[in-house]
Amino acid sequence: MGETLIDVEDLKKYFISSNFASRLTGREEALRAVDGVSFDIYRGETFGLVGETGCGKSTLGRTIIRLYEPTDGKIYFKNTEITSIKGSSLRKLRKDMQIVFQDPLSSLNPKKRIMEILWEPLRLHNICSEHEKERKIFELLELVGLSKADRHKYPHELSGGMLQRVNIARALAVDPDFIVLDEPTSALDVSIQAQILNLLRKLQNEFRLTYLFISHDLGIIHNMCDRIAVMYLGRIVEVGDWKVFENPMHPYTKALLSCVPSIRKESRKNKILLKGAVPSPVNIPSGCRFHPRCFLKEDICSEIEPDLKEVKKDRYVACHLYQ
């Protein structure tokens, strides 16, 4: 294991829904999107974050790079606490941490040409001067497999795959250490998705980047990531390396993996169909938050919330079955 780049300790992010009536009555509701999450990300690895809609994976990704104000907990980046830094030190931090969003079109300014879009981060962080601008932008375009002629185009003139390349180039412009990839390929077609995944892997090797790869697609996560964390309703239920796929331990991970369709007949398992739907993050169940849907539930599960514990080497599980 290499050095720790990011260390997250008991991180929480609540969204308070507050309106006039709720302020009067003092009954404000908290949506607990991320509710006490701890993990490390090592330098140079791809850390996968997997979970279903509404489990808090995107919120977690954005909170780590300080796009959201954390409600509680601590975030360390290169051993420095960044939980509550502000102003110019926060701006400096943005140079080290970047993000690529899910929707490649809406994350680019439609009124700007590709060249202007890529110039923006270079200008803001004083990375190169005006007369080096063109050379640097050519370099970036080449890096992500776009042609020089594309710099004069507007976002709407490019296809989804090419737009995502622009987004990646923009993130790379500031030479970051860490990039959050928030479902970077889920808006793309299969044949294009594979191109983008290969590009991301190439860039990681070239610049020794560290990725936090957020996805709901277990196939992609398995293909791309060194270690993965499975999230459910604001908490991490299991962390481990690729062996998680071979031998999932948490009942939720088991169910999730069993539901992934496969083209190979022999790897089609019996599906574990969970009952009901994911509960609302405003009204989180008592005890283990998975217990109302769990097929291995015991009495203790509805009372005490299990902690994430190391059950064997490099495998952490939050489940009473293993405590």
Partner: protein
């Protein structure tokens, strides 16, 4: 061999846009036997959805189904039917489940109102009987507490539940054919697995035929027995599902399979180079040739014939 339930012959659906003619579906042929499930695989712009809509005759200007196309359903050509007769086919004998469960229901009517409307349009039932039927249907698709839920509006349902309502609506008149257009794309895997089980179960129980449209190769292998692969409005390959996926013949199918990050493969993927061509200005000859690694001069000039390789296996490529 008995007559197939559905037979699509030389289907061509073009859209006459100000920028040029989009040949969304350009000469598609296939048959579907009663009780069978057929998958249509393709990426965006391949014409798979338009094929589904054409069968339902839900193509509106600037779109047009060209003369010479035939859609034979239970021995009748749907394209020759007057609109009022077509109405008794839609929702009754053929029904469709659309991709986006968020926008396919009317937000200002309750689930019950929308379901009973479909039922009463096609069946001679009183309001009360229709409501009872709606409740049984919702129960059948696995919605708990349907007596109460029927009074809810779509926004009170989750995505998976809305999709179940759409399926309930589609099966309400025991259609002979259901066209499911990416019914699970907007859903999570655990919900997707439940919807797929439900569709399979219903297909077994009421003996409906199914056309399942998707871009997900892995998913399709779990639900249908036969697949056609579409690209730029044309069928490139057709075959039995497991055979087609384990031994793809067309370079495009092969490329798709290699692009797929499966939970069993680690490391670099082998993507198809290039991008999906513009529908207004598609390549000449074989539509796939600009991205194909086996492409020759011939591919650029002629559209390869859709040839039968062996029983139930067809491919459109000069390699064969």
């Amino acid at each position: 061999m008995t007559d197939p339930l559905l037979s699509v012959e030389n289907l061509r659906t073009y859209f006459y846009t100000p920028y040029g003619v989009v040949k969304a579906v350009n000469g598609v042929n296939f048959e579907l036997e009663s009780g069978k499930a057929l998958g249509i695989i393709g990426e965006s712009g391949s014409g798979k959805t338009v094929t589904g809509l054409s069968i339902m005759r839900l193509i509106f200007p600037p779109g047009k189904i060209l003369k010479g196309s035939r859609i034979m359903f239970q021995g009748e050509d749907l394209l020759l039917k007057p609109e009022n007769e077509m109405r008794s086919v839609r929702g009754n004998r053929i029904s469709m489940v659309f991709q986006d469960p968020m926008t396919s229901l009317n937000p200002v009517f309750t689930i019950g109102e929308q379901l009973t409307r479909v039922i009463q349009t096609h069946q001679d039932l009183t309001k009360k009987e229709a409501i009872e039927k709606a409740i049984t249907l919702l129960k059948e698709v696995g919605i708990s507490d349907p007596e109460k839920r029927i009074k809810n509006y779509p926004h009170q349902f989750s995505g998976g539940m809305r999709q179940r309502v759409l399926i309930a609506m589609a099966i309400s008149c025991h259609p002979n054919l259901i066209i499911a257009d990416e019914p699970t794309t907007a859903l999570d895997v655990t919900t997707q697995a439940k919807i797929i089980e439900l569709l399979k179960d219903l297909q077994r129980k009421i003996g409906t035929s199914l056309i399942f449209i998707t871009h997900d190769l892995a998913l399709i292998s779990e639900i249908v027995s036969e697949v056609i692969v579409m690209y730029c409005g044309m069928i490139l390959e057709r075959g039995e599902v497991d055979e087609l996926l384990s031994e793809p013949l067309h370079p495009y199918t092969e490329g798709l399979l290699h692009s797929l990050p499966d939970v069993n493969i680690k490391g670099d993927l082998q993507p198809i180079e290039g991008t999906i061509p513009s529908p207004i200005n598609p390549p000449s000859g074989c539509k796939f040739h600009p991205r194909c690694k086996h492409a020759t001069v011939e591919c650029r000039e002629d559209v390869p014939e859709f040839k039968k390789i062996r029983s139930d296996r067809y491919v459109s490529c000069i390699l064969y």
